[in-house]
Amino acid sequence: MLFNSYPFLFGFLPIVLAGFYALGARNREWALLWLTAASLLFYAWWRPVNVLLIAPSILINYGLARAMERTGQDKPGHTKIILIAGIIFNLCFLGYFKYLNFLGGALNDAFGTGFVLTQLVLPLGISFITFQKIAFLVDIQAGRVSRFTLRDYGLFVLFFPQLIAGPIVHYREMMPQFRAASCRFDATDAAVGLTLFSIGLAKKLILADPLSRLVAPLYGHAAAGVPQSLTEAWIAALGFTLQIYFDFSGYTDMALGLARFFGIKLPMNFNSPLKATSIIDFWLRWHISLTRFLTAYIYNPMTLALSRRRMALGKPVFGGRNTNLSAFLVMLAMPTLLTMLISGVWHGAGYTFILWGLLHGVLLCVNHAWRLIRPRFWPDTKRYNRRMAPIGFLLTFLSVVFAMVLFRAPTVSAAVMVWKGMIGSYGAALPQAVFARLGVVAEGLTALGIHPAWTSGTLLVEATLRIGVLLLIALLMPNTLEMLAPYEPALGVKPAKDPAWLRRRLSWAPSGAWAVGVACIALAGILSLGELSEFLYWQF
């Protein structure tokens, strides 16, 4: 079921909330059971078979977790074996459904093998759920989770606001909240939830979706081998970057808002990533819960193991003035590239996603290397940050936009076509109707090699306006976390000590004016439900 659908908004959600509050007034355990059952229905709505696939996996993980808990104190070695078995099981589960066809196809392409590719039913949100289950097992082994029941575990995995597309949550940050939840109607939580959900719905339907109709034909042309002019290629790249930005931002706001209706605060997942001044900064703002997972469960264990190994061999480790090239390559570049490769593969089974992950890995390595080298010739960090932040922003923005082409293009060759268009390999053209209205400017453009073409002027103007307005919103406006900071819209979010003028002006309060404003935003979103569209991140 989509958050942005009539059945969800006018059927499922009101019924689930009414039932939750009514049951919670009598017995909070019943309310939580109701929430778990509703989450299962939410998951089954699209394809009931999904439940048959995911339920056994949940039971097996629960069984493994119980076994680890029992053997934990007496036989730590056995616990580790069960953990490894659990991780392998979960990765095989994910791999079978998501990557088997891709691997078979890749082997067929490379070696001419004859693997038969079958149409598998991909359980919704399988990548998110798998990571969450692995994190749970690792946390048990590390002693970060002590007591749990099947009902707790079921609710943790199935909680519908974050079930399909995150944020990727930890048991230890969710369960204390469920245990403390009153399961009764709370006006503050409901007001905050309404605001977050309304803004998220509008972001998704009013800001993100129209861009899809704009960029889809351009990527279709690239896939068909039709060259793109400079303007078309940049519209394709910028348009998709903003589409996925507002799509994911909108989804995250809706997830935060929905959880808040039940008195639950989800972790922060999206924090104005296009404002980042470096790629490292970007990954601390974009899909924060994924970065957190990859860092905690893949990158850190890898660097820790490598550090121990190098120390045992007497080689210098990474960090400080003693860092040499080999330490950088082995202890930072390699784990970073591997982690981002996994990030790419996690997003999708395809060469484009693999390359997207690797490209970001390379960018992160360059960023880290710069951070090591820069103090040697520019030691004044404060001054450096002040002077270079705009350049850092521009480089980061262009890198992210450039890489996003891989995220959207159906094939690597289509991405290369868009990239070549972006650097002007196929020439630069403007629609004749636009060209004819530029007067003397047109002569200057002609001198620069920009020529008129029989393409749609209306589309170009619409694309330029949309992209321009959305860029201004993304780069200048405070985000929802900042606007609602005094009410902790996500776990751990605190108000800034000295907020800027615009952030102060747009700071949310449960006032009448905000109620009318948010109602307008909500209505605009609801009225845009007519054309249903899926969230881009639901495919992962």
Partner: protein, 420 residues
């Protein structure tokens, strides 16, 4: 009452009031003419937004129009044939224009004809055919489209079980969507614009789209832009037809139209729509003209074999109308003559077509095709082209899109070699 509780109460009240206001405005303005709300001068007399929802608007309009004559076709019919043209005789009125912009498929024409007949009262049907539609086979969609769910009947003639649900959805979405609200506001704000696009209750358009573009960009730009589009289309069609030796595609759909009309006592006329020589010569130069002639021959044959009462009109030739010169680049003053651009003719030309069709006599251009006359007609059009294009009298923009040999030199060489 605490702040957050008051917030929720105001939020709910505002949402309800605003939603009711939006639905009320959409019902009053009725931007897609779904509800048939009386048109109010200054508010909703003209309906510019209906163009982009033509199938939606027209399917509800025709149910209210109770036409005796129905015009079926694509955008050229929608724009170029006036349902209120004075040439329509009284016994054929009221006429409804069921031409669908963007509806290129011949199968879509069959479905709209079926819908018009299912509503009852139709005695005459004119189906305007675009020759390009016969070069690629049309495959039925795996599941019915939104437009098809709206029709009263399924393709096989049984009652459509999805219709009630789709009708409810159409009405709900016309009341409660952002797009409808934006279109309502634009409709009201645009009423003072003398050049506002309109979809009349009889399904006709006032051509404002093209007249506005011609005024701001000039006809030369319209022709050149469409030539570039049509070249791509012609090349794709030539590729699709390469090596094909059988009869042309989709004539079975035309045969079903003939059977449908005959079964319901509807007098059917098939019309091959006129194109400007700019477009015609693209197809000629790309080597598809023999296919065009094949279409005329096979269409005449299908009509004669299915129902001799069906008339086939061919307005696709190199007449003085279709070879009218295109104004020069930058010329925004010269008014359009007979064509807005290569594939869309003006209502003035549509008027002449209606006069000829009603009189059953080709006096100024076009011809009635029968199996006996089609060969002569094809020869005549070739001669027209020879005189117009190779004779040097007519300047076409065709070569702008892509320089392709016009074949005139080769034809002249053959004539010289043959001693003619």
């Amino acid at each position: 009452m605490t702040g957050p509780a008051r917030f929720i109460r105001i939020w709910l009240a505002s949402l309800a009031v605003l939603a009711a206001a939006v639905a009320g405005i959409n019902l009053l303005v009725d931007p897609y003419d779904v509800f048939g709300t009386p048109r109010i001068p200054g508010i909703s007399l003209l309906k510019p937004a209906a163009k982009n929802h033509a199938m939606l608007a027209k399917t509800y309009q025709i149910a209210r129009a109770h036409p005796v004559t129905v015009l079926i076709g694509s955008s050229s019919t929608h724009i170029g044939i006036d349902a209120d043209d004075p040439a329509w005789p009284p016994d054929m009125r009221p006429v409804y224009n069921y031409g669908i912009p963007g509806g290129y498929a011949t199968s879509a024409s069959l479905r709209t004809l079926q819908e018009a007949i299912a509503l009852g009262g139709v005695k005459y049907a004119f189906v305007f055919l675009d020759f390009q539609n016969f070069f690629v086979p049309e495959r039925p969609a795996a599941s019915p489209t939104e437009d098809e769910r709206r029709f009263h009947l399924l393709p096989g003639g049984a009652a459509n079980p999805d219709r009630a649900g789709q009708a409810a959805a159409d009405r709900f979405l016309s009341l409660a969507t952002m797009g409808a609200f934006v279109d309502s506001v634009a409709t009201v704000l645009g009423q003072r614009n003398p050049a506002l696009l309109n979809l009349a209750p009889d399904g006709s358009s006032n051509e404002a789209d093209f007249s506005n573009a011609a005024r701001t960009d000039g006809l030369y730009d319209l022709f050149a832009q469409k030539d570039a589009f049509e070249l791509e289309r012609a090349e794709a069609l030539a590729h699709a037809m390469a090596g094909w030796s059988g009869p042309l595609h989709n004539l079975d759909i035309v045969a079903r139209m003939i059977d449908l009309a005959r079964a319901h006592g509807v007098k059917l006329t098939l019309v091959i729509t006129p194109h400007h020589a700019d477009a015609l010569d693209l197809y000629w130069r790309i080597g598809l003209w023999p296919r065009v002639e094949q279409l005329k021959t096979e269409l005449a044959g299908v009509a004669a074999s299915r129902d001799p009462g069906v008339t086939v009109w061919d307005f696709m030739d190199y007449s003085p109308f279709s070879t009218e010169p295109v104004p020069r680049p930058g010329d925004r003053q010269t008014a359009a003559g007979w064509f807005w651009e290569p594939t869309h003719f003006r209502k003035q030309l549509g008027h002449i077509m209606i006069e000829e069709i009603v009189a059953a006599q080709a006096t100024r251009f076009g011809a009635i095709l029968t199996p006996d006359t089609v060969a002569a007609r094809n020869r005549m059009v070739r001669a027209q082209r020879q005189a117009a294009v190779c004779g040097g009298g007519v300047v076409l923009l065709t070569a702008l899109a892509k320089p392709i040999d016009d074949g005139c030199a080769a034809a002249a060489a053959v004539r010289v070699g043959g001693g003619t």
